[in-house]
């Protein structure tokens, strides 16, 4: 196993920041870490659990300007606004990389390929850091991940006292270290992370049997219908596309096509032209979120819809806890004739 010292790593990151966009955990105030572009290694925070948002936004940004339509006195032009730069995402956790691998199943591995996603993905190098522990809400090991999982990353670093063990998973990862002399050390694997109790995750084909259970109305009753759980989620990928006015006067009309994240938990997500909303109740919407994670997405795209990062558990203002929901669905499936409570909404 190769090893890099702290100071070597810092100079390497400084070097990377000069030639490509370096994205790393950055303090946005009050200790909130976001993955943001940094000028050099001094802006990077190295001690953290996980960033507030997952690395999803590096390949599927919250906001993306797609194209511009201009009508200048009858002369119409269309401009492609897509900008793509080589980027190195440093400091994501293995679950974040797992999330990106899940997104690949939809955006790349299936026709039609999403051009922007795919180009951005091709120019992204993922340098992850093993988790030193599983935190309270973590359950990656129950959904096919692990605190030291390497396979979805280009490079996996694992911290020890005087630096990091370097595990280059892909050729792209190897390229980053090509001009740097790394020390060879004896140690092979260094994981002694205590794992959290495993969470029962019902098989995807079992979920339809409890679709109509009143349980979903009960969970939904306290949902606030905000977008928080979906925005922090590494695998929630719904987006909205709109043409927004930029300039509008007698001679010139300019619109831009914008893509932004959307959320199935928000009330108007399913509203269609004419005003009909096929998921008007909170219970229907929260059910959709869980079914998307554990039934629709695995069945349709063959990938995990949840990577067990635990972010939604930490941020939900009303404690809708995905681990509790999994336990409850597991119980419902074992006892199909459990008491049916009066419907709440």
């Amino acid at each position: 196993m190769r090893h890099i010292s702290h100071s070597q790593l810092l100079s390497l990151l400084d070097l990377v920041a000069k030639s490509q966009t370096l994205i790393a955990p950055k303090d946005m105030g009050k200790g909130h870490l976001h993955l943001r572009p940094v000028e050099d290694s001094s802006e990077i925070v190295f001690e953290y659990t996980r960033t507030d948002l997952s690395a999803k936004e590096m390949v599927l940004p919250h906001t993306e300007r797609i194209m511009r339509f201009e009508n200048r006195s009858g002369e119409i032009t269309i401009t492609d606004l897509f900008i793509n730069k080589d980027q190195v995402v440093f400091g994501l956790r293995p679950c974040d990389a797992h999330g990106i691998a899940s997104l690949d199943s939809l955006f790349i591995r299936q026709d039609p390929v999403d051009r922007h996603y795919s180009k951005r993905r091709d120019s992204t190098t993922l340098v992850g850091i093993s988790c030193p522990q599983m935190w309270d809400s973590c359950f990656c090991t129950s959904v096919g991940g692990s605190p030291t999982e390497r396979k979805h990353l280009d490079v996996l670093l694992t911290e020890n006292e005087d630096g990091y063990f370097v595990d280059c998973v892909t050729e792209r990862g190897e390229m980053l270290f090509k001009n740097i002399e790394l020390e060879e050390v004896e140690q092979t694997r260094m994981s002694n992370v205590t794992l959290n109790d495993s969470v029962p995750v019902p098989e995807d084909n079992l979920w339809p049997t409890v679709f109509d259970h009143p349980y979903w109305q009960q969970v939904g009753a306290r949902c606030l219908s905000c977008k928080l759980c979906t925005f922090v989620c590494p695998t929630c990928r719904c987006f909205d596309l709109r043409d927004e006015p930029v300039t509008s006067n007698a001679e010139t009309v300019v619109h831009e096509r914008i893509r932004t994240w959307d959320a199935c938990t928000s009330p108007n997500y399913r509203t269609i032209a004419g005003g009909h909303n096929s998921r008007p109740q909170k219970g229907q919407r929260i059910r959709n979120r869980f079914y998307c994670k554990f039934h629709y997405y695995p069945v349709d795209y063959g990938a995990e819809g949840c990577v067990g990062c635990g972010r939604c558990i930490d941020v939900c203002p009303v404690n809708i806890d995905i681990v509790e929901v999994l336990h409850n669905v597991d119980t419902l499936l074992r006892q199909p004739a459990t008491e049916v409570k009066e419907e709440t909404r």
Binding site: A221, S225, V232, I258, V318
Partner: protein
């Protein structure tokens, strides 16, 4: 208090006085969470402690329409702390709820705790008994706090440019998840300006100008209506100091019009009422 809360709730549900009781239950990872109970057997789940933060009146908006067309409006009981009770007055004044459809279980409160200390909003609050209630539970505890408005004064002492920079750096963390809006009992528009498909006022980009506009717009709409329950700030995953913005506006309204949202027993909404002589009726 909890025995009384449970017995009152049980009685209301068993007698058919209400269809739902909105209270607190234990969460999965410490703390409490909202509980919406329709079965009298479930009242044992209800709890009351120093971590009952949520302002439950926000859930009253879920029961403003009958669950099925043609049915009667459900009658709902809701547990309120003194601050939350002020939102009841706001919602009544704004004709959002009907007094006869809500049974208010008022709970006296000495402030909620976080990490062994009184929460920030509770350090500013001297109301110990709910302003409005049907059943009052508990004796008002003797807790005296002084709101010196220091953070608001500090904000006011800044130059306009400093203030702008302060807010922009705080708001840059916003992810437009709308948890603040959705937790707020005062934010109940059927179609929020920010959810409109036609982007009339604001685009959907998550850039600083949009974040800035969203929060300023929301704060202006809450001026004179915000009761400083601080739910917006509590639910914000990015710890944006929203209450500072709201309290600055509350202060302006108090000083200019002598009005405090939800404190008046005479129910008048702040914005839509004009004083005598300001409008001539035909």
């Amino acid at each position: 208090m909890i025995d009384k809360i449970r017995s009152v709730s049980r009685e209301l549900l068993e007698n058919g006085d209400v269809s739902y009781v909105i209270g607190y239950e234990m969460g999965t990872r410490g703390g409490t969470r909202p509980a919406i109970i329709s079965d009298a057997q479930d009242v044992e789940k209800l709890v009351w402690n120093r971590e009952c933060y949520a302002n439950l009146t926000t859930f009253l908006h879920d029961y403003k329409k009958p669950s099925r067309r043609g049915e009667d409006l459900p009658r709902v009981a809701v547990m309120v702390k003194p601050c939350d009770s002020r939102t009841i007055n706001v919602l009544l004044a704004e004709r959002q709820i009907k007094r006869e459809n809500v049974h208010i279980i008022g709970l006296t409160c000495g402030g909620m705790m976080a990490e062994g200390k009184l929460r920030e909003e509770c350090l500013r609050c001297n109301i110990r008994t709910p302003i409005v209630y049907d059943t009052l539970i508990g004796d008002p505890p003797d807790v005296d706090v002084v709101d010196d408005m220091q953070d608001v004064s500090e904000l006011e002492a800044m130059t306009a440019e400093e203030r702008l920079q302060f807010w922009l750096s705080e708001l840059d963390r916003c992810i437009r998840c709308y948890a603040c809006r959705d937790a707020c009992p005062g934010c109940y528009c059927t179609v929020c300006e920010f959810d409109r498909d036609d982007s009339l006022w604001i685009g959907m980009q998550n850039e600083l100008p949009e974040k800035h506009f969203f929060h300023t717009f929301r704060a202006m709409h809450l001026a004179g209506r915000c009761v400083d329950c601080n739910e917006c700030e509590r639910v914000c995953p990015m710890e944006i100091p929203l209450s500072l913005l709201n309290r600055k506006l509350a202060k302006e309204v108090r000083e200019l019009y002598g009005f405090e949202g939800g404190m008046n027993t005479e129910l008048t909404p702040f914005i839509t009422v004009l004083a005598d002589g300001e409008v001539s009726l035909i």
